[in-house]
């Protein structure tokens, strides 16, 4: 009896709060880390703030930080759905199954899953960014800037997104500097400042003087700052506090335009399910300011490359390109298709070492 009363009260409350918020569209965000991580989650939260700025009092936003990937995510999503959220952004790959499971139960609520590929029901959309386009630009700068001809890459996990980054960086470093070699260190973490610092240190001790990182903290830059002449790039966020050196540029994830577009579409009724994979052209990937530590002609070259990728006249994976074992991947002028890229699991020719399986 008591339980029934409680449930009824909860339902009335949920209805009441939903009714109260009816004139406002509620957009909710689920974050995998703390906003204070200075990287991935920080950028998603900037996107949330852009939504607030763009629509003012027509929307209200809510978010939850540090949501573990797994059963907890499903609970948080259900809670959000019940509390009146009309559109929910789940901002980590690991929320894929939870997002689809909850979406099936709430067909009137729109779900947006970042970096995933499952769209089981009509109210689930997915979105991702072509980070490898940014890697091509930083790879070019790396190839021009290295004096020891050794560049290093701190990988997180051996997944297609990271392998795209490694290949794109190496191809473009090699293009401007044929003598360049690249060492890849796998940290097996997205976020562990001490380990990332150790990885950067190990690379520097091996004579590497340009560090490209695919992990989220600023620790590799802090480590690079200890050794004069070593440079690096901001990852996910601008990491401007390490300007002008060691941070000479950055790849910035810019989710704001996408979030504004989707919330806007829901407001004016043009919303439809879709799968988005935009890059420099779509404004989702930005190149952070290239500092004066980089010579003007290198800066111009990098910016020209970014422009040509942005307007679609150049694709970072354009043949002729061989796989690591020397077999042909792309013939002259051929461009990699999205399907291959999304499942990329091999290095291009010239990179040493193996991808851990």
């Amino acid at each position: 009896m008591l339980r029934k009363t409680l449930l009824a009260t909860a339902a009335v409350l949920a209805f009441a709060s939903a009714a109260a918020a009816q004139d406002k569209l509620k957009a909710c965000f689920v974050y995998v880390g703390p906003i204070g991580d200075g990287g991935w989650t920080f950028q998603h939260d900037q996107g949330r703030l852009d939504v607030e700025k763009a629509f003012g009092d027509k929307v209200e936003t809510a978010y939850q930080e540090n949501v573990p990937e797994g059963a907890d995510a499903e609970r948080v999503l259900t809670q959000m759905a019940l509390s009146g959220c009309k559109i929910i952004f789940t901002t980590s790959f690991g929320y894929m199954d939870a997002t689809n499971a909850v979406a099936a139960k709430f067909p009137d609520i729109m779900f947006e899953h970042a970096t995933g590929y499952k769209r089981d029901s009509a109210n689930v959309s997915t979105y991702n960014a072509r980070f490898y386009e940014g890697r091509a630009v930083t790879g070019t700068i790396a190839g021009r800037m290295t004096k020891s001809n050794k560049i290093g890459y701190i990988g997180s996990f051996p997944i297609p997104e990271v392998i795209q980054g490694i290949n794109a960086s190496f191809i473009h470093a090699k293009k401007v500097n044929p003598d360049v070699t690249m060492s890849v260190v796998w940290a097996y973490t997205w976020f562990d400042p001490a380990k990332e610092a150790d990885a950067a240190k190990a690379l520097i001790e091996q004579g590497v003087d340009v560090i490209l990182q695919h992990t989220d903290s600023t620790a590799p830059l802090a480590e690079a700052a200890k050794t004069p002449g070593v440079i690096g790039f901001g990852q996910a966020s601008d990491m401007a506090e390490y300007k002008p050196s060691p941070r000479v540029s950055a790849i910035i994830d810019n989710w704001g335009p996408y979030y504004v577009e989707r919330v806007g579409a829901l407001l004016d009724g043009t919303y439809a399910q879709k799968d988005t994979w935009a890059g420099i052209g779509g404004g989702e990937v930005l190149i952070g300011e290239i500092t004066d530590a980089v010579p003007a002609e290198v800066k111009a070259e990098a910016e020209a490359l970014a422009t040509s990728i942005g307007d679609g006249s150049y694709h970072p994976f354009t043949g002729p390109l061989n796989k690591q074992d020397g077999s042909v991947w792309l013939a002259d002028g051929e461009v990699a298709d999205d399907g291959t890229l999304a499942g990329l699991n091999f290095y291009v020719e010239g990179i040493e070492g193996e991808i851990p399986q």
């Binding site: 200075g38 400042p193 001790e205 802090a222």
Partner: protein
Amino acid sequence: MDFGSINPFVLVASLMVASVPIILAAIGELVVEKAGVLNLGVEGMMIMGAICGFVTAVETSNPYLGFVGGAAGGAALSLIFAFLTQSLLANQVATGLALTLFGLGLSSLIGQSYVGIKPPLTPEVPFGPLADIPGLGVVLFQHDWVVYFSILLIAAVAWVLKKARLGLILRAVGENHEAAHALGYKVQRIRLLAILFGGAMAGMGGAYISLVRVPQWTDGITAGAGWIALAIVVFASWKPWRVLVGAYLFGGITVLQLNLQAAGSSIPVEYLSMSPYLITIVVLVIMSSGKGRALNAPAALGQNFHASR
């Protein structure tokens, strides 16, 4: 094994630096456990030390005060543990785990406005020409003061536990608190002091991460170092010098596996990553296969004491 282009001297030097936080936290916890208290909150105390040390160093622009601040932060958090377990006789395991969760959350709150700030640098101890000795100079004479402090601390703890009256009292409390009480020692007061020491050392270890190893503040910066410190105390079978060995082994393997990768070695990363844990298991098996109390754990470890019992 192909060590490629790895310079062994540089490798040893970096493993010494990498191990400092776990050495400090582990030797502190060793003293706590020797007094018969099991504090599983090392991770929480470390991260509180990391943020308190960071804040102190940034606000005063003095890296040395930062370590004092870190030690104070860790000790302050351990005081909560001491109050709950020694005065209110709460379960030590549960309280310790809660302490870790509390420390992680509180440090994140305090650190909100300190993200992205660079702390003052902790300089190397100047050894003059000694630092330029080939090989040895890199290994022995190019570190900051905390590296030397951590080794001296191990020596001091080893000496006190083995030779000094203070160590004898501490061990008595940890082995048999009722006998110690019957002899007139204030069991709870001694344990309180041991807990505070453990908290201060864990805090200092945390401060070393945020001030020297990573030089910045981010949420969750200690990333499990406190749990490794706890494992090392068992690995060392509660003997101070073995803490040093254990910490260098863990630190060494971490640094070595990254170096091997950077040098392009063909040994799979996974084997190297798991090797310290494998060695811990092997050591535990060997130690516990002996007769009697070969594990050497303090007999009253984890048991609360009240004079009325």
